[in-house]
Amino acid sequence: MRDEPSPGTRAALPIPALIAEALAGEMARDPSVLLLGEDVGRLGGVFGASRGLLERFGPDRVMDMPIAEMAFTGMGVGLAMAGMRPVVEIMFADFVGVCLEQMVNAAAKIPFMSGGRQRVPVVFKTAGGCIGSAAQHSQCLWGLFGHLPGMKVVVPSSPMDHKGLMAAAIRCDDPVLFVEHKRLLLSKARDSLQGAEVPEGEVVTPIGRARVARAGGDVTVATLSLGVEHALRAAAEVAPEGIGAEVIDLRSVVPLDMETVCASVARTGRLLVVDEDYLSFGLSGEVVARCLEALGPGALRQVGRLAVPDVPIPAALPLERAVLPGPEAIAARLRAMAVGA
């Protein structure tokens, strides 16, 4: 008799275990895939996203690095240019400050500067988002990398996408920044409002296609990462009041799937962008501008942005709550925008 896994066993998996499955799957499939970073080996990652990989693939393919991000980020670039497929873990997104040179001036520019002749298939894997850790350990920064040309910026939200988008990022021939959210990394598949079931075998989610996480006819909410969970909560809260919110998980900042957003906005005429990154010069303004360009300035009856109001994340929890776009703030904005729906 075989032991069948009881239903729900996989739903109890922590989100990082799903990332580890993707990494293991790709490493097994392609011997050029490597993982390097701080605490990725013996510890299996500070969130557990590489647990078991050192034991399975050995120290030549899973490398614990000293705190020398500039060198090992550049090492990732060199490894990629030399024909390998490195996944470089930069523990928290905030720490890119110390290795931005290699990400921006090397990884993101070399494919272009070489006239398309040099590929740099490196994945920079990092955790962003707020969990009460103050200004230097809370940023998302996907907008920054959306602004700087040359890197795909992939941001998973659902349990499925943590696995599927990681696999796709590794297979991608371009440099990819993969930004996880710490709050999601600390959760289990079954905590998600977006479905807990993720196949044990291979999952590859194409990069660049947004997903309608909830259908609705009155207001389009474009968001990503933990924002999708918050928006789904808010949408459920206002639904009994007759407000239909359509929640779109953008899934990537680069490329930005405006087709899906615009198709929705063309129906609803109302667009709310929810972003845990900073408000100004970022994703929220970009989505609104592209929508207006595509549909014409008359297409929107209502437009709104909820993002961090251009301040670093404060330490004290009541202050952090005040600057984050949580479910209550989203629900309030939906009510205000749906007037006349």
């Binding site: 500070v46 705190i67 060198a71 110390v98 230097q136 670093p312 404060p314 009541p318 202050l319 005040a322």
Partner: protein
Amino acid sequence: MRPNDPRILRHRRMLEMRAFDEACLEALRRGEIHGELHTGINQEAIGAAMAESLRPGDAVVSTHRNHFHALAKGVPARALLAEILERETGLCRGRGGHMHPFHPPTNFSATGIVGASLPVALGYAQAFRLRGEDHVAVGVTGDGGSHTGAFHETLVIAGARRLPLVVLVENNALAISVGFGDVSPTATVAERAGAWGARGMLVDGTDVDATAEAFAAAMEQARGGGGPVLLEATCTRARGHFEGDPDTYRTREEKRRLREERDPIALHRARLLAEGVGADALDRMAAEVRAETARLLEAVRADPLPDPAGAALYLWAEEA
């Protein structure tokens, strides 16, 4: 026991530092501190040693594990604890939190970015030189931070300019799970000093007497215009990297051994007892310190949290 005996004072300082971090642990258990709290338990000897030679005008730029360095620099314990508990009465009005305490009056600051303390300390050192002041800048880092580019670049500039800088490396042999021996190209950090024309010093950072002497010598050289000093103090980390770290990369036995054999307070107590200091007197001192710290925590717990209406304040000078 002579209360003004510097060795007794040293011992008391270590007790105060440990009690301070134990108060933080208690506040954390009550949900009054958020994020990744890093304690310095078992690293008290270094903080206590620093306290003896730091002068008011000197600068200290510290790390994520900064409480003892702040206390050593003379940052008021109440406002420091209030900041760690995210109160409006804290050093930074609850905006910075435990990883980011700033206290301009004592030239104390810290950063949560590993290695990033050192270039800032370099800036203080250059300012002291420009103004002809005989202050010293101390940049603190862990062993992990000694592998960063910032560490190297700081010492290049400090060495070439002979700046009054002490780079203090608290080598607790671990950077989260990564062992110093597994990633360092050299057996010690101190031996790298020659590359930058700095003086390298290595001391057992669990021996408060030896560390106080070494730190004093380092400060004296830097203050006297002798150029930068790289002082490495070896020690151990008794708890996980941060509170909540499952710390599965070490065995229980290993941690027990560290707590029993490399606890700087226990080591110093044994030395004092052997020299004839009475156990009763040391016990009384410990009880006194615990009681004082408990009162401090109670006082801070009564302080208000910041008003959410002010969440976006203090980005610009005119709001301060």
